[in-house]
Symmetry: C2
Subunit: 286 residues, 2 copies
């Protein structure tokens, strides 16, 4: 019997000792010189990243756009197979931001979970229930719903106020109340606004959040973890892409050092008593 | 010099004598028997659809999910090449509902416009400006922004009221005011709610709308065209997928008959005087 998505997430975090997710954004324009003539440069670069991080990454998040742009679907498949080999407990989150309905949604589900064998996929909420539910129908796979994204344009619509709450809070509330029967729904919450993270944590103590935007997009790790950790000192997957994979010019040691640094920083912030109010964790340490 | 997207849209409508867009949603589970053993069944079915409709389709809208689910990227490429051969003036709209930021958006732009050579791509607005603008940067290519979608879940968030207007109206307003310098932005407006179509037309007399949901999803063509046509009796691309491509069991004659019927119905509604108030057209016919 496959474990539930929640159990698999917990296992991945235990085995890796980590809440860290490594984003695979292989952009050939930024590749280290020694890979630029490789016949399968995306897969080769991914292999380097996976080798350098396999013992402490809880999850990998390949960004499908980089493979799709270049017709490199086979390289994406190879990278996912390599993750399974090197880090069998780690989750594979396909960052595809899908969202469509009916038989189209079914086709996207098939793409993410059957063709690529991902454990989870990022999903856009704009089209509502029938565009999200198909991604949640398999209890052992997860859907990570865009909620508050950390990019500058994130506020254009997500922060519009309705009945005293911004849109992204309505998205979170609606999803948590109506779509999460299997406990396999996570929210994508950007790393740049700890206050919003804190509000979401208070409103949804039971949900896990994927937090991209650490590193290249800025974001204060301590503040955001203090705001976002749940009562168990977990409930977050903290994702970094460019700040890890292009560190040290994309060398193995550069990648490993950057990942180890983030890993250590996450674990430091995970266990220290919070300066701000985070009652349950504070109790754990009192 | 390539024409602007607006000029290309107008030309496509003139050459085809039509506002009709044919959706390519090739779902092998529904394929006619004689294609089920074809080595490239999606491309073969698309070829049949294109042959049957090339002389009166203003646009084709391949739904990328069906190809991605099956690893059939080469068949999608072949179908787009075949459209160029058989209907050189028709627009190719890649229905991919993309939405992401920065270098990821750039990769999706490359996928849609360079890899597949599409003329336009559907885009999701949830992540805001920096997720939409990259798709609008080439004046000869278009972005079709999800606004009000016709699926049941469309109302979950799109119809939430802010400052007296539903979210989808804010999306339309923001996009029209800030992102449409090149005149290459269209809105996706579902066919099921003519009242909402009328409000959008009144607020945005200058924009063109892609209207999916005709046919299999229901929708009253006369009412929606009366609500949505612009002052030139255009401003709409009316898209049908399943109701055309699976007509008559997916036979050439079934497809052609269904497309011809929709084509005729569109042109009938396009030129007859409107019963409701559509002042400019009414003037044209008075």
């Amino acid at each position: 019997m496959p474990k539930s998505f929640g159990e698999r997430l917990k296992l991945a975090q235990q085995v890796s000792g980590s809440l860290m997710c490594v984003g695979l954004d292989p952009d050939p324009a930024k590749f280290p010189k020694d890979l630029q003539d490789d016949a399968s440069p995306l897969a080769a670069f991914d292999r380097r990243i996976i080798d350098a991080t396999a013992d402490f990454a809880a999850a990998y998040k390949p960004q499908i756009a980089f493979y799709s742009a270049l017709g490199a679907e086979q390289q994406l498949l190879a990278s996912i197979r390599y993750i399974r080999e090197r880090a069998p407990a780690a989750l594979v989150i396909l960052d595809a931001k899908r969202g469509d309905i009916g038989n189209t949604a079914a086709a996207y589900v098939h793409e993410a979970f059957d063709r690529y064998g991902a454990d989870a996929v990022t999903v856009n909420p704009y089209m509502g229930e029938d565009s999200v539910r198909p991604f949640l129908a398999r209890p052992e796979r997860g859907a990570l719903l865009l909620c508050r994204t950390s990019n500058p344009g994130g506020r254009d619509f997500q922060n519009l106020m309705l009945d005293g709450l911004p849109l992204y809070r309505h998205v979170a509330k609606h999803a948590a109340e109506h779509w999460n029967e299997h406990g396999n729904l996570m929210l994508v919450v950007g790393a740049t606004v700890p206050r919003e993270m804190a509000d979401l944590r208070q409103a949804h103590p039971e949900l896990s959040f994927l937090v991209p935007g650490v590193g290249a997009q800025g974001g204060d790790l301590a503040a955001l973890m203090s705001a976002g950790l749940d009562s168990q000192g977990a409930g977050l997957l903290i994702s970094a892409s460019r700040s890890i994979i292009y560190a040290g010019g994309g060398s193995s040691s550069g990648i490993r050092d950057a990942a180890a640094e983030l890993h250590a920083a996450i674990n430091f912030n995970r266990t220290r008593p919070s300066e701000t109010s985070r009652p349950t964790l504070a109790r754990r340490h009192s």
